[in-house]
Symmetry: C2
Subunit: 767 residues, 2 copies
């Protein structure tokens, strides 16, 4: 690697100033410098906005704080803490109180260690200013207090409530790594004021319609289908009409009035039009509009903070040159990248360097250097062309005419079509009765065919390329087919001796068989496009999964305290109390008639499934009325509240997110940065033709003349090819940032943001 | 009015060429010229894209064709034709066949006259190239054929089907005036290919899940709540899981499996997540994305066509000047505007002229002239300041100190608050039992209070200003209060003699009482904003109303032929067959148990209400299973098809429209054109202060010194004030165009579009 021209050692006060940049100038860079720069780059890469101390000791601690092992451990203990609900009363698997308490104490200990570690990394005043730290400390203290009280009450045989359990999911929000989740909560909080006013208007409309319903229908002596008076109680009308907005009791709630006269249908149609179609669309519009607006602002701030960090990293590693812009030389740059991302191959690193050092001067300026964080986030697939191992072993056989013909056949489009047809035939056979011996034995034939396909492909394509990291469908096929083979063998060996068949194994066999059919999707290009878009927004959907988990957990904890053991489910169908779920209060209710006994809050799993049902909305009025019947009418408020929070707010934000992500996918194709990297790849003639790749990643490999080079350098020709996995994003942030990249000025380094003494962190308070 | 400098008479070939522009140059403009120009302007204003003949006779015919009377007549006969369904078998009110046939013949005659009229207006080749004309002719012919066949069958006592009835709503789409509706259908058609692929993928996922359900659950011997086998028939599973996507049978469909084991809940949750949340969001995203894209393209073409027409109008009326740009002088311009819009006041017209003739030269250039169509579309409220009539009658009394104090009190904010409180108290009283004499009499007190409010306001504010066209709430209040007064008086006079109370009058009284409460909304600014936005998108929602009407009508006609009289509703509750809706096949079905007998296709009104219920989705599986039970299993396809068309496609387009309209409302505030008009108004110091207007339109009037001028000219000071009703749109197009105005180049006159021999009309074929 060429060392660039030596430069004068002039410390630059304008850059080296400030707390975060201790080592400006041209002194030989120490290990501490590299550590610091690497931290800045990695913080920029993962959008960590932590104002850490820059003393060497704090930097080492900070490195350890961000180490993946400590993060995995933290999440493990959070999950352990959350999953304690499975073992605590009301439990799925009952454990003695001391056992769960002990585990919880252990978790609290880990969280305490983690927060102390964090306190040592960042300056004291910053630590106490950050609401999420306060929040964690408060959670730990409150949990301890609650455990002591509960333990004391239990020891003296009093009734105790473990109220601090609702605080547990808040840990997920407030740990340093919960950035995405905090952002999601912020976008909800930001949308709340506007939602609130629409909601008030909606409630006003609901009250007016209820009043009208009471006046119009209350005095007519109509009865509902079970004979109770219809629309006579104002509060009940409000609840019924609220339920009608969710469509859950349509058209039943209308039928008594409709049976009395056609004209009353007008009332209900008007109500549904205004409150269901118009208001619900307005909710979505308001949520979506707010979401878009605030997201834009947040991502802009995030990108500014990222650039700021990259400028700091640059300042640490820069070489000063008199009268010229400071630069970073290749050696330092290489060491930095190796530190930040040790798994990057040499070739990949050289490619990145050639993007940063566009003019081949052996050094990179500030503008080019700042890209590094984004460049590292772009996933580059390095393809090495290797000869097929069989060619090395017995070249004469592999190169023979029949073998070549076979290769051609397998690579032909007809091969794919034939196997798609086989899959379709297989689908029909699966649908038929497997008791028929012919059908049962056909399974072996299909398995053999699928195995043959994999073996043929392995014969034709280089195995390491076939099983490369990004060949999703190859992995999918192989795993499914081999699992199915194993399961089928086990199943038939279990079946043969006696007549007993293990249901579990058979279930697995069936699932695997059906899953195999999914492969057809990959053959149709239009489908692949849709699926790829869905896969791309997958990680972001996971953030919403966490959000839902937090909300569900809180509601499950509260619901379990309120409703546990009020409704019982009897496995034994002969029990006479089964008809009313073990609670006489439920006699004759729709809840009992529909046999909803298992929809209860008797343990955390049931609670979660019940909450899913409430999210789906249908029949939620039956469920809420059931629980109101066994406790008190006001219990319905719990369910209405859940509906407002989850369905009106969170699901709408989810839809807004999917819409926005789809629009970005449709409108933007590749970000500017990726294009610059791609340009470089094309410039160096290292690109893999896009079209061939689209068809089959492995095909492309075969068209390249084989060459035994290990590809250490990019100079000797294409033994090594690059392809940008442009459609995948390592982080959710990358997707979000891409959404709004067009608004950003590439020359804006956000240097004046330092005046605040902190990175521009979006306005935040613990959720 | 000043005549501008006289200009040389040089016919300009470059402008006067072309079929549409017969009269370039400076010859004195004839009546025909003005007619032609007026037609171009009015076509531009209302976005009519009709390539009419420019011969004076054709122009006269065209004027008559576009006259509002002929349009109203046309729509009257279309509605008459559609409403025949009420009287035809199966009828709400039965009429003899000859009567409905006669009316239908009359309608057909009107349509024929209309299309012949149209054929005379436009060149023959254009007429036969337009699919919507062909469509109307085909509809007329087919209807005649059907009527003859049906008449012959009936005469010979055979069973006949009036199949041409499904064609009737297509008239609504294909008449010249159905532009908005055709556009809505086009946006659906454009979105279809993309929706189709997502739908296929969705169906694939549905089939895979169904297969898995069959294999996992079919063999376990589970039963549903009514004892029938659970998940054993593949087709039924597909239907059940399709219904689950609409959430209509959640959680019932899951309960048998869930009762058997917790693990099966995973299957259903996964299914709901993928097919309900993900796929339904993707449907919305695809529809919305397509909608946005195509709408943009269409509106761009519309605006180009509009400009083209304005350029033609300009060419007809222009005066040529040697070496200078052609212009139109004020006299011609005035006559044109008078022709186009006779109801525009002189003052308003002078205001518009001062916008077109910005430099006061007495003539307007092409760029300024082209704005005219848009300027005419901006609603300008002309306010005349008049003294209160009482002041003219007895000025001493009206100007006395107590009278002034009263005016101040009424105009005070507290007055509004006091009346809001009265409304709230009234709401409580309405909620209470009206049998109580105190409550019943309180109604008189409230009525008196409301009347007093109106009288006080009339005392303080000038009555004509109080009841001006745009004072919605004043009109609302007065109408509601006076109607309530009349209804209450009638009601009590009817009640007093005997104990009998007319239900109908009482209903009206109650509705009026409750409606009065709505007034509170106007006092809260946030609510007003939301409501204003809703009112603004109202006209566009009406287009969707037409769309829904067309689709409903077609489905109602088909449904009536398929299912009429299969399910019967008995008013008499003692009839034993009532329990199963008069059809033994329904015995024991959920349809009969839930007493859905009145949800039938026995007449067009029932059918429409049933279709609304199907649109709301909940319980649609019960309804479809009911109708399948009385006919054939494949009847479910009718309902599934309805769901796909109405809920997946049309409702999503509706939501997309509301979202887009809301975003435009949030982001754009006023169009450039409106601003230019407003600037002019401000320049001339004729503006009404915005803030005072926001509070109360009438308040502002009082602050202006009274002056008896009639305001013929804008030169003598503000006896006349203008205000732009900027937030209202005369046409739906104006709203749509405003949405995409930012993309358009104001200097682009679309002159080369003429080469196609027609106005740029968006690709269209009859729906």
């Amino acid at each position: 690697m060429s060392e660039p021209e030596k430069i004068e050692d002039i410390p630059d006060e304008s850059v080296g100033k400030g707390k975060g940049i201790p080592n400006g100038g041209n002194a030989a860079k120490t290990k501490e410098d590299f550590d610091l720069a690497a931290i800045y780059v990695s913080d920029a890469q993962y959008n960590r906005n932590i104002y850490f101390d820059t003393s060497p000791e704090a930097v080492r601690l900070y490195l350890r704080y961000n180490h993946w092992v400590s993060q995995v451990l933290l999440y493990f203990f959070i999950l352990l803490d959350l999953s304690l609900a499975v073992f605590e009363d009301p439990a799925v698997f009952s454990l003695p109180i001391w056992a769960t308490m002990l585990v919880e104490l252990l978790c609290l200990l880990v969280f305490t260690i983690r927060i102390v570690h964090y306190a040592k990394v960042i300056p004291r005043d910053k630590f106490w200013k950050d609401p999420k730290n306060i929040c964690i400390i408060v959670i730990i203290v409150l949990t301890l207090v609650d455990m002591i009280i509960y333990g004391a009450l239990k020891a003296t045989n009093y009734y105790g409530v473990r109220w601090s359990r609702v605080l547990r999911p808040l840990l997920l929000v407030n740990v340093t790594e919960g950035r995405q989740l905090r952002r999601a909560f912020r976008s909800i909080r930001n949308a709340l004021p506007q939602i609130f006013y629409v909601f008030l208007l909606f409630m006003f409309s609901l009250l007016i319609f209820s009043l009208m319903a009471l006046k119009l229908l209350g005095k007519r002596g109509l009865t509902t289908i079970d004979g109770s008076p219809y629309f006579t109680n104002y509060l009940e009308i409000i609840f019924d009409l609220y339920v009608l907005v969710t469509t859950a009791n349509s058209p039943d709630i209308m039928m008594p009035a409709y049976n009395a006269s056609y004209y009353f249908a007008i009332f209900f149609i008007l109500y549904i039009l205004i409150n269901n179609y118009i208001f619900m669309s307005v909710f979505l519009a308001v949520v979506y509009n707010n979401y878009k607006y605030h997201l834009k602002e947040e991502v802009r701030q995030l990108v500014r903070a990222k650039r700021h960090k990259m400028v700091r990293a640059f300042a640490v590693l820069q070489d000063q040159r008199e009268g010229r812009e400071p630069v970073v030389n290749q050696a330092n740059w290489n060491q930095l990248v190796r530190l930040v991302q040790p798994d990057v191959s040499n070739a990949h690193r050289e490619l990145l360097w050639s993007v940063c050092d566009n003019n081949n001067h052996g050094l990179t300026g500030k503008v080019a250097f700042v890209q590094l964080a984004d460049l590292l986030n772009i996933e580059v697939i390095t393809l090495k062309s290797r000869p097929h191992p069989l060619q090395s072993l017995c070249p004469s056989l592999y190169q023979s005419a029949p073998s070549r013909l076979l290769c051609k056949l397998v690579q032909h489009r007809a091969f794919v079509i034939v196997y798609d047809l086989i899959i379709l035939v297989n689908a029909v056979f699966i649908g038929l009765d497997e008791k028929n011996p012919l059908i049962a034995n056909s399974e072996w034939a299909f398995l053999a065919l699928y195995l043959l396909e994999i073996l043929l492909k392995l014969y034709v394509f280089e195995p390491r390329a076939f099983f490369s990291k990004h060949s999703f469908w190859n992995w999918f096929d192989t795993i499914i087919v081999i699992s199915a083979l194993i399961a089928t063998i086990i199943n038939s060996s279990v079946t043969l001796p006696g007549t007993y068949t293990s249901r579990q194994i058979l279930d697995i066999v069936f699932i695997l068989r059906v899953l195999r059919l999914i492969r057809v999707v990959d053959s149709i290009k239009r489908f692949r496009t849709i699926i790829n878009t869905l896969i791309r927004i997958g990680p972001a959907i996971l953030t919403f999964g966490q959000l839902i988990l937090v909300v569900y957990y809180v509601f499950a904890m509260v619901g379990m305290e309120l409703f546990k053991h009020k409704v019982k489910f009897y496995e034994d169908s002969s029990d006479p109390t089964k008809a009313y779920c073990g609670n006489v209060l439920l006699k004759g209710t729709a809840f009992a008639q529909l046999n909803y006994c298992k929809n209860n809050f008797n343990n955390v799993v049931s609670s979660f499934i019940l909450l899913v049902e409430l999210t789906v909305v249908n029949q939620w009025h039956v469920l809420s009325s059931g629980f109101a019947a066994v406790t008190h009418g006001s219990a319905k408020l719990f369910f209405v509240f859940f509906h407002i929070i989850v369905v009106i707010v969170i699901i709408n934000i989810f839809v807004a997110f999917v819409l926005e992500a789809f629009f970005v996918e449709y409108s933007v194709d590749k970000s500017d940065l990726q294009t610059s990297l791609e340009k470089k790849i094309e410039e160096l003639e290292l690109a893999v033709a896009q079209e061939t790749l689209e068809d089959n990643l492995v095909n492309a490999m075969e068209t390249i003349d084989s060459d035994q080079g290990t590809g250490q350098s990019a100079n000797n020709k294409p033994t090594l090819m690059f392809k940008i996995a442009s459609k995948r994003y390592r982080t959710v942030d990358a997707l979000l940032q891409r959404m709004f990249e067009s608004d950003l000025d590439p020359e804006d380094f956000a240097e004046n943001d330092d005046q605040n003494g902190n990175f521009a962190n979006p306005a935040f308070s613990a959720a």
